[in-house]
Structure formats: structure tokens, C-alpha cells
Amino acid sequence: MSDDLEQRLRRLGSTRVPPLDDRRVNEIEAQLSRSRSNSNGVSWIAVAAAAAVLLLALGTSLVRRGNPGSLQPITPESTITLTTPGTFEPPSTTTDASSPATTPPTTQSNLPNTSPTTSPPRATTDAPTTTAISTSIPTASFVLAVERVGDQLVFSWPRQSPDGATGYALVQVGANGLTQWPVDDSRIAVLTDDLAANRARLTIAGRDGRRWVVAVIGNDNRLIAISSTAATR
């Protein structure tokens, strides 16, 4: 008896219906965009208030410690894994060294040129601080998302392919985001010339607050685009 009813329900679920026409699809999308814009207008007040409180707390903390900077170098125990679309596996406590598109963990240094990749990273002489000319910082043009899974930070961003781009750099930045380019090597957690990469895993002991940006770079370490700033703890 129930089987008949189940079949009747399933038939209802497979009834052919005409698709929603493109005009209405676009109308709803526009409506959603307006909705997001409106809600952003309200939430910015809360965001600004929260930012003010955080800045105050940060300032107080720095004064107490007498520490002029807020950046912490990437620790030697950091391990890095880059992932390209189609090769990503859920984060685990071990790094995936078997995937052809990933970077095996480095245990000696966080410098980009010590992380072997399938495409050789830049040579030491290409390090941003030694060759690049200081450039203005573009506004963020894509979003960097990050989530913590155990001791790992999993960064993700949409693949970028602007003209002249040759790779990405995951950069640790200060409270004001990326304010200068090039940056010191110690701030670069990941450097890759694989433009298909859209994720990076970073294993960092400790949970100090940090902020990150993905920079899209071109030849001679030219800065082409940057992501929004992602904060981790």
C-alpha cells in the first residue's frame, strides 16, 4: 500500500515542468544582488564598529608589548600543499605528496624557493626583495577564503588568469593588508607558477591571529592583482 503511495509521490517528483525562462532567472539574480547590496549597507556599520574595537585592542596590545610590528614570520614547522582543480583531497593531518599537482611539505624553511613544485619555483635571485621594483597596490579583485581544519589552514580562491600572470603568492600581511610590494621573503608562505592552482594548505603550529592575501604575479615579480584579506587564528 505504502509502495503505491511512494510511487505516486515519486511520479510527482519527476513530473516534467518547463524551465524557468531566462528573463525571470535574470530578474531574480538582479533582485538577489540588490538584496546583498542593501544588507551590506546595514552590516557595514557593525563591521566598522567591530573593526574599531579590534584596532583599539590591537593598538593596546602593541603598546604593552613594545612591539612595533604585528607580523609573525612563517614558522619553520609550517608545511605547505598546493592544490589544483581536480586534485584536491579533503584536508588531513598528513600532506599529500603523491599528487602530481601538489607541493610536498617543506620542513626546513618557509621560503618559496625551498618548496619543490612540479613547475620549478623561482630561483632565489628572483625573490621579490631583490629584483622587483616597488609598485602600487591594486584593490582586491577576488576573494580569498580560508578555513581551519585541525592544525591546517585551507586557503581557496577562484583561479585567476589576467594577462601577464605567471603565478600566485600567498602572503602574510599586517592589519592594513598588503601595503607594499614586493614583500620580504619571510612573509611569503606559498609561491607557485601553477596558475591552475586554487587552493593551498598550510600547517601552522599555534593559533596566533594572522592575515593573508593571495597575490597574482607576473614576470619579474610584477604585482598584477590581489585577493581580499583573509584572517586566521
Binding site: T15, I28, S141, W157, P158
Partner: protein, 185 residues
């Protein structure tokens, strides 16, 4: 211009919390599925359009609460759509409550009158579903009309698979009773 065309769903959901372009991509990937579900479940194209719009608006507002929990984004959207379908039905019922239960049913069925030019499925079944308690309506809508797996339904209802099976059984029994009662009216 950022393109999210090849970004996988879980990444896209994370990005969509901050970037409307990413949410728009999620919308485009799922809008026809949600519309089709709403249309089948209500039998009415106009109502299905409204429910589709409301579903994505709610999803946008509640994206920070989304957790995959082993089921996909579409399962979450289907749950939102189901809630809205039930809420709309309840609102219509309240509007006509003074006319008595019998009249209410007649009006309710008229107000959900399927489109003349659509292959609208099963109006009697749609009307009977609308008269079920919310939990029964939800489990049957998600499981059979929305096509979610039993484990996905259990996850979205926050119950164990065993309890979900029991709930489904009771819901089917209640639906049968509604249909039998409806036939006698």
C-alpha cells in the same frame, strides 16, 4: 573578471559568503532544480517562481549557517524551498480559517489550482500534502518529490536515519488517510 565556472561547490559556498559573484554562480547552477521542485510541489508556475526567489534570498541571508554535513548545497536549498511551500500553504489556510475546515479545503485546493497548460502532476496529492503536519509534509517532500536520499533527509531534519524511516512511514500513513478522507468528501 573573476570566473567561478570551474570552482567546486564547497569552495564556491565559502567564497559566496563574501562575494556576490560566487553566490550568483551557485544560483545559476541550482535555480532550475529548485524551480522544478517548487513547480512540481505546488503545481503552479507563478507560485514556483515566487518560492524560487524567496529560497535563494533566504539562502543568501543564511549562508553563514550552511554546513555540508555530507549532503550537498542543493539539499539545503530544497529544505528551504520546502519550508517556504509549507509556510505559504499555512498562510493561505489562516486567511480562510473562519470559513470552516471543509470550506478551507475547497478554497485551498482552488488557490493552488495548477496551471491549465502545464503537466502539473497530481493536484489531489499536492492538496493532501498541504494538509499534513509540517514534519510529515517535509519528510515526504524532501524524500520523494525532492529526491533526497534517506541520510540527507535525516541530516536536514536533525534526526537519525532510523527515526527518519519511522517518520517517513508515519507520514505516508497520514498522507494515505488524507487522500482517503479527501476522496470521501
Amino acid at each position: 573578471m573573476t570566473s567561478y565556472g570551474e570552482v567546486d561547490e564547497s569552495t564556491l559556498v565559502g567564497l559566496a559568503r563574501l562575494d556576490m559573484t560566487a553566490f550568483a554562480e551557485l544560483y545559476r547552477r541550482n535555480v532550475q532544480t529548485i524551480y522544478a521542485f517548487a513547480h512540481r510541489r505546488t503545481g503552479n508556475a507563478q507560485q514556483a517562481e515566487d518560492i524560487t526567489a524567496i529560497t535563494f534570498e533566504r539562502a543568501l541571508r543564511s549562508l553563514h549557517t550552511y554546513q555540508a554535513n555530507g549532503s550537498g548545497f542543493i539539499a539545503w536549498l530544497t529544505r528551504i524551498a520546502t519550508n517556504e511551500i509549507i509556510d505559504q500553504a499555512r498562510r493561505r489556510q489562516r486567511q480562510h480559517s473562519e470559513r470552516g475546515q471543509r470550506a478551507l479545503r475547497l478554497l485551498h485546493e482552488q488557490s493552488f489550482a495548477p496551471d491549465e497548460d502545464d503537466d502539473h502532476g497530481d493536484p489531489a496529492l499536492i492538496a493532501a500534502l498541504a494538509r499534513l503536519p509540517r514534519r510529515y509534509n517535509t519528510v515526504l517532500s524532501l524524500r520523494f518529490v525532492g529526491g533526497l536520499t534517506p541520510s540527507e533527509v535525516a541530516t536536514h531534519l536533525g534526526i537519525s536515519p532510523t527515526n527518519c524511516a519511522v517518520l517517513t512511514h508515519r507520514a505516508l500513513a497520514a498522507l494515505r488517510k488524507e487522500l482517503d478522507g479527501g476522496n470521501m468528501r
